[in-house]
Subunit: 110 residues, 2 copies
């Protein structure tokens, strides 16, 4: 009896993760917020080439998935900041694994 091959299905963990964290910016944003909570304008400086629209848009979907939380201080001019939620912190080992992958990949002799 041969070993049963694992078959990829429509709902598998890899796909779930890609849906939650896929794309060019979400992991970078989470990584930055893991260093310290930040305001919009700070995040823009920390991730220099993101556009304001993408930053806001990505923060919004991260919030919808409860990975990031927003605090509005109700001041004028507006002051708002963003921080990781507990769920957001679940992504940190993944980010760490990505960093390890890239570093090891670059160290492999071709």
């Amino acid at each position: 009896m041969p070993t049963t091959p694992i078959i990829i299905t429509a709902r598998c963990p890899i796909r779930t993760t890609l849906e939650l964290l896929g794309g060019k910016w979400k992991l970078l944003i989470l990584f930055q917020l893991a260093q310290q909570p930040a305001r919009l304008s700070e995040l823009r400086r920390q991730i220099p080439d993101i556009s304001e629209k993408m930053l806001i848009q990505e923060l919004k979907t991260l919030m919808e998935h409860d990975l990031v939380a927003r605090t509005n201080y109700g001041e004028v001019p507006p002051r708002v900041d963003y921080r990781l939620t507990d769920r957001g912190r679940l992504a940190l080992p993944l980010i760490e694994a990505m960093r390890n992958f890239a570093l090891q990949y670059e160290n492999e002799k071709t």
Copy 2:
């Protein structure tokens, strides 16, 4: 003296990984090939909703980055198979981290 925040740059490990492994299919393909080497037609069955074009195209870029290797047996009808390289195996902890993330995410009480 405040702690220096880590600033995201144009070439950082997270971005390197996204370039190598980003997109809808590459990680699924690597995950499948980690179970056992496979022919094109087998991969198509194992990843049911990928199109043939995407499968070939993604395999090609994975090969260019030396994450996957191709063996052509020179038979007719053609027989070719694909397997992970050592570099490709470096992605396995990352895939494992994605799986953990998804499972923990789903277990969090809302």
